[in-house]
């Protein structure tokens, strides 16, 4: 499979050329165009080896995610006997990055940042602490493991920050981070007062060694700006 990320960093999209019977899995709604020889199969985003109960659990979690984070429950698999070309785009403006997983490391990806993956990359849902669900600020994460390519999109530009020690990031700006990092969600200087008054909402404190990818725009900030402009 070959891929090109075009039109970055503002309106990046992902162009993929698939070999015969090669498959790519992508989040629902992201397809822009594809050659006629490719077929699309839709399935529940439950992890590849999921049994019956895991599927049911995934279904309820997906419904929950839909209400909390607007994520969708389904993913699409694209493949064809002669291969072909397919192009994917995220819904907001921003960049796309490619990460290679070799089975040794896991990536924690902000749920809305997951775009597509290949090979036997598996994605499992993880909540960044139940209390983080307050005010819609919480962290809903996809844990990616296995071998293959992962494509991640962002709102704004993406920059990689190597962490060695501690590093604090506003939760709305987190794209992804490596499993080797520990993370803790809190108000910006601890305590309820700072949570409400700082205007910062929740932040995530990373400690240890690893890379954090952050995005240069915050979707909740856009929503906060738009809301007073809406007609009553």
């Amino acid at each position: 499979m070959q891929h090109q990320i075009e039109f970055g960093p503002s309106f990046a999209w992902l162009k993929v050329q698939l070999a015969p019977n090669e498959m790519i899995q992508a989040e629902s709604g992201s397809m822009v165009r594809h050659t006629v020889g490719l077929q699309m199969d839709t399935r529940l985003n439950a992890g590849r080896k999921a049994g019956f109960f895991a599927k049911i659990k995934a279904f309820f979690v997906a419904i929950l995610r839909k209400f909390l984070g607007g994520e969708t429950a389904f993913v699409n698999d694209f493949h064809g006997p002669q291969g072909g070309e397919v192009v994917f785009a995220p819904s907001v403006s921003g960049s796309i990055m490619h990460q290679q997983l070799d089975g040794n490391r896991k990536l924690y990806i902000q749920s809305s940042a997951y775009m597509a993956s290949t090979g036997d990359v598996d994605t499992k849902l993880k909540f960044g602490g139940l209390k983080s669900m307050l005010g819609g600020e919480g962290l809903v994460l996809q844990v990616c493991s296995g071998t293959g390519d992962v494509f991640i999109n962002s709102y704004g530009g993406i920059t990689a920050v190597p962490v060695n020690g501690t590093f604090v990031v506003d939760t709305g700006h987190i794209v992804a981070f490596e499993e080797s990092l520990n993370f803790k969600l809190k108000g910006v200087s601890g305590g309820l007062k700072s949570f409400f008054l700082s205007g910062e909402g929740l932040v995530c404190e990373f400690s240890g060694q690893g890379t954090v990818w952050i995005q240069s725009r915050n979707l909740s900030a856009l929503v906060g700006w738009l809301t007073p402009h809406l007609r009553p």
Partner: protein, 231 residues
């Protein structure tokens, strides 16, 4: 006259350089800035059209084509001058050089063109209803440059054969291409669950302009986070 496109692809600005007595017609609201020697005529009449026909065409364009009712003309007087244009949403702009063939433009993607290009609306029939686009497209016929805008970056695709394009990602295409509306995948339920719904099958030989973002997807993502409207 020539268009100079700057700051692609996110916050694109189109500079239209005009020689003396050259004129460009643009949709209302698109003008950002212009040199002092440009003469503006608002809601200008098209050369040979009477009042009634002009009114009807404007209404058709507004109600059906997704464009505004008024177009303005910008004419350079005795000196060369320039006008700059920008669309309301962030995104790319591109100039399509029309050489007699017809260019079919999706709703809100038309910005400006000289009068050597005739802009009209084209009824898409029932497939327009299902295509997710408007039921009317705009057509540009003639010789000269046509300035288009998009939501996202614009990809220029020279098609000879077939391609499946998601509704909402189509900007414009030349008349040698036909399109039909089909299900995204085999069954109705999977098409709905896939998030794609209906897609367009483009067939033929010509040029297709595709945009790298989908306004409805963007609206749905941001809209889901906005407070509910209190009615």
């Amino acid at each position: 006259m020539e268009f100079d496109i700057r700051y692609k692809p996110a916050h694109t600005l189109a500079v239209c350089n005009l020689n003396p007595n050259e004129m460009v017609r643009a949709e209302a609201g698109a003008m950002v800035s212009m040199t002092r020697n440009i003469q503006v005529e608002a809601a200008a009449r098209n050369k040979d059209e009477g009042m009634g026909k002009r009114l009807l065409k404007g209404l058709k364009r507004m109600a059906l084509g997704g464009e505004s009712f008024f177009t303005n003309t910008y004419t350079a007087t005795t000196q060369p001058g320039h006008v700059t244009f920008a669309p309301s949403l962030t995104g790319d702009m591109i100039v399509h050089d029309c050489q007699g063939e017809q260019l079919i433009i999706q709703g809100s993607s038309y910005v400006a063109a000289p009068d050597s290009i005739t802009i009209d609306t084209q009824f898409q029939g029932m497939k327009g209803f299902f295509s997710g686009e408007s039921m009317f497209f705009l057509t540009a016929t003639g010789y000269g440059p046509v300035l288009l805008n998009a939501f996202g970056a614009i990809e220029t695709l020279d098609l000879n054969g077939e391609m499946i394009v998601d509704t909402g990602h189509l900007v414009a295409f030349t008349a040698g291409i036909n399109y039909s509306v089909i299900k995204a995948s085999g069954g109705w339920i999977s098409s709905f669950l896939s998030g794609e719904g209906l897609v367009l099958k483009m067939q033929g030989q010509g040029r297709v302009y595709v945009q790298s973002r989908n306004p409805s997807e963007y609206g749905a993502t941001v809209g889901a986070m906005l407070p509910p409207r209190s009615n």
